[in-house]
Symmetry: C2
Subunit: 216 residues, 2 copies
DNA sequence: CCTACTTTGTGAATGAATTCACAAGCCTGC
DNA sequence: GCAGGCTTGTGAATTCATTCACAAAGTAGG
């Protein structure tokens, strides 16, 4: 019956972690809305799931609520931030200063959640040296020595698909620990490097499938 | 033992559909690479899964391979396009001409797969009327009558989180059938509207969790 | 202090997705 | 045309995730 975010004793499903992130985002809104306590039922409604799922998700990490009452919003917010590893800052590099890389580099939603963009890289000589929002675009060739001096844990990959694997190999040998990939290819990484991909074409195609097959 | 993409008799898991999309993308590369036949093993290697999974995924829709030989690349490509509903064109509107909306409107990867951006909308008077890449930014107030004249099936939502639900309600009542959401909120839609969300903060937080808890 | 009511936390049950394992089918070479 | 080698297609087994259902624990009000 303790409330500490105990270190995961068994493997936690990715789906659980993603829901925790959704709960956290809603809770941060609730705090500013001045609500002091919240039930699993309410959390579920705004997280697109069920109250049993919410309680099960939380139960993997400890016991955070009061029976008959619900969860204290500030405490649960804090616990979720701790579970997700958001109490520290993460350094992020963006590789590929094209259309999507530029949008991401300027996105304020990253910084406000502890993800600091520390550098932007490209290979295009015309882009190297130019800057926006305080970031000078640097030559990707300097990435290994840069990471040696000022380490970054996470890379956001926004380069064309045909050079994505080469860019990953370079990042991995430079010591990066996690990659968020926007190129529509399946990348190979060593087991100790975390990888997530955002594949927008895949999302659109899954919508296409659903529209096509709704009349089942 | 027929090869037609028969209409789904039982519910197809979303994870299956997403993998089909990945297989298709790799196959399109294989064609240009001049490979005429491919095994489930090879497809699996490049799709980040197992050969049994590939065969099971395909088996929901028919029988596309030759035993002892594998799959004919052009035929399988065609079948996957048919299954995913990609033999037609889809009209797409982008709502929110900000940083991410702009990047998406200019992205060539959509058009090349049959998703045509037919309009871009915003509320900001300074943006309305300006144009890039052939798209004039239109006032979101005209969306209902525009969709009446020239229907679009899919909306890409790239507006701030606090107005996202209102924008969805407007799109739904204008008759949109599917939404790809980039705002980090859980949206409510009627059951007959398809919804996918791309939540980049969630991806980053899931990476943060993995980095934090690798030492389990 | 006791009763009525609420909501959590969690084993057990169910349901869904993946993996196993192998018969069936096709190709090649002799 | 038969043997040997390969690869598909698919039920059965297994693993993983969600939902159920209820005891336990708390609140509130008299
Ligand atoms: N633009 C979008 O909305 C969008 C949407 C979904 C996915 N994507 C994907 O994101 C990736 C980038 O798309 P984009 O539209 O920004 O393309 P882009 O052409 O505008 O930008 C790509 C950038 O990467 C740079 N680059 C090339 N090789 C590099 C390397 N080895 N190292 C570092 N930088 C390198 C290029 O110079 C260019 O500036 C692509 O894989 C694309 O499929 C883009
Ligand atoms: N920029 C990114 O890289 C990024 C990454 C992930 C998620 N997002 C999300 O995407 C959304 C947009 O982000 P952005 O960075 O492009 O913001 P932005 O402020 O650059 O753009 C938002 C645009 O939406 C317009 N808008 C506001 N209300 C509208 C309405 N009711 N109808 C139509 N248009 C409206 C604004 O005028 C503005 O042009 C946000 O929800 C953000 O959290 C952005």
């Amino acid at each position: 019956m303790n409330s500490q975010a105990c270190s995961a004793v068994k493997r936690i499903a990715d789906s659980t972690v993603r829901r925790l992130s959704v709960y956290l985002r809603f809770l941060e809104g609730s705090t500013s809305r001045g609500q002091s306590t919240i039930s699993s039922e309410e959390l579920a409604k705004h997280g697109g799931t069920t109250s049993a799922q919410v309680r099960k998700d939380l139960s993997f990490f400890g016991s955070f609520g009061k029976r008959g009452l619900g969860y204290a919003v500030p405490e649960l917010t804090e616990s979720l931030r701790e579970i997700l590893g958001l109490q520290r800052q993460w350094n992020v590099v963006i590789v590929g200063a094209g259309k999507i890389g530029t949008a991401l580099a300027q996105y304020h939603g990253f910084k406000s959640r502890g993800f600091n963009v520390v550098a932007v890289y490209d290979t295009d000589a015309r882009k190297i040296g130019s800057k926006w929002e305080g970031h000078v675009v640097r030559d990707v060739a300097s990435i290994t020595s840069d990471l040696g001096e000022r380490p970054a844990e996470i890379a956001v990959l926004a380069v064309p698909a045909d050079v994505a694997q080469a860019a990953v190999d370079r990042l991995v040998s430079a010591g990066i620990r996690a990659i968020l990939n926007f190129a529509p290819v399946q990348l190979q990484v060593p087991g100790d490097v975390a990888l997530r991909s955002v594949n927008m074409a895949m999302e659109l195609e899954s919508l296409s499938f659903e529209l096509t097959n709704r009349d089942r």
